[in-house]
């Protein structure tokens, strides 16, 4: 079995890993629908979405590895870190849930990523700006697709509404983490891109519009705070990594 790599986590590297890991882990959960989605076309759409996110992951992790300067490539970073060295949001590591849960999570994460990529198009780092220029198109589609589904679920049958409301209540707990200021990471990375708290107002505005169209009510804020972006994950992350990393660890450097 392959041992974990250790990473040199400067603020710039952490800034990139937060984005790359969020895309990677989110893709992992979405891809659990492959072969199991309620409708064939949606199965393909979800798989496409997961692959788009993997593409974004690859670009960002490659860049992170270059900035880190220890010779780590995208695959080593994706598959060989220990749990506390992943900086994805807790929301994306939560289990797949039912279709409503996936739709609500997709809306929330796609809106966040879209707003981040929009800002990152203006990054002072030319390569990151180029990655963002490509990713923003994918993110816009992901948001539109997910939002349209949420509107269909919210403004429809009693069962669909109930499931959508339940998902909304459950997921809202993990939103404050998006915009919490992390004083350790933000300062050193300002030339890469904005602190995530800078997109909070826009995120809430867009979510509000979508929720209104779905006739769903915005949940109240609570005091719970998740901590995935600091490397402190929920109980689900361990199982996810065990499954995701198994092949690379069992067959180091395997190619097929």
């Amino acid at each position: 079995m392959q041992t974990s790599i250790s990473i040199d986590c400067t603020p710039s590297v952490k800034y990139l890993l937060r984005i790359g890991d969020t895309c990677l882990i989110h893709a992992q959960r979405i891809s659990e629908w492959s072969g199991h989605a309620p409708i064939l076309e949606e199965d393909i759409a979800l798989s496409n979405m997961a692959l788009d996110l993997i593409g974004q992951t690859r670009a960002v992790l490659t860049l992170a590895g270059q900035l880190e300067g220890k010779g780590h490539d995208e695959d080593q970073l994706a598959y060989l870190r220990s749990e506390q060295d992943y900086f994805n949001l807790t929301m994306v590591e939560l289990p797949r849930g039912d279709f409503a849960f996936t739709v609500v999570r997709n809306v929330m994460v796609a809106t966040l990523l879209k707003l981040l990529w929009e800002r990152l198009c203006d990054s002072e780092h030319a390569e990151l700006a180029a990655i963002a220029g490509k990713a923003i198109k994918e993110a816009r589609y992901h948001q539109q697709h997910a939002a349209d589904w949420l509107i269909r679920l919210g403004d429809s049958t009693a069962e669909a509404r109930q499931r959508a409301e339940r998902a909304l209540q459950d997921l809202w707990l993990y939103v404050p983490e998006f915009f919490e200021a992390d004083h350790n990471a933000a300062s050193g990375a300002s030339n890469l891109g904005p602190d995530w708290s800078e997109v909070k107002v826009k995120w809430h505005a867009e979510m509000h519009t979508i929720l209104q169209a779905s006739t769903l009510s915005e949940p109240e804020d609570r005091t719970f705070r998740s901590t995935g972006k600091y490397g402190v994950h929920s109980e689900h992350m361990g199982y996810l990594l065990a499954e995701m990393q198994y092949l690379q660890r069992a067959y180091p450097g395997g190619q097929w």
Binding site: P38, I39, I44, L51, R58, L61, E74, Q248
Partner: protein, 118 residues
Amino acid sequence: MLANRFKIFTVFIMNNTPSKAAEHALTDWPLWEVFVRSRSGLDHKHCGSLHASDAKMAIQMGRDVYTRRQEGTSVWVVRSDQIVASDPGDKDMFFDPMEDKVYRHPTFYKLPDSVNHM
């Protein structure tokens, strides 16, 4: 390897069998025919069909299913029950008379090279 996840995807979609409830729901959704245009200036070609609950979903699904290998730049969807087709039984009457009317073809006009793809 991250790159390999792109290859594995096609295997999974073959295993999807809907439950009874899902099957019932699927037959409630109308069928749509999908047309894709590969480049500006060319025509939309019929490439398949799908079930969707409404026009917007049909367009998105058409994009997801039929343009994922960069097949096109424009998607049309039409509800299948809106398509009116000629009756195969009328084939003789409709199409055979054209066989021996060569004077209707513009065969003696040479197209300039720049528009010769028609």
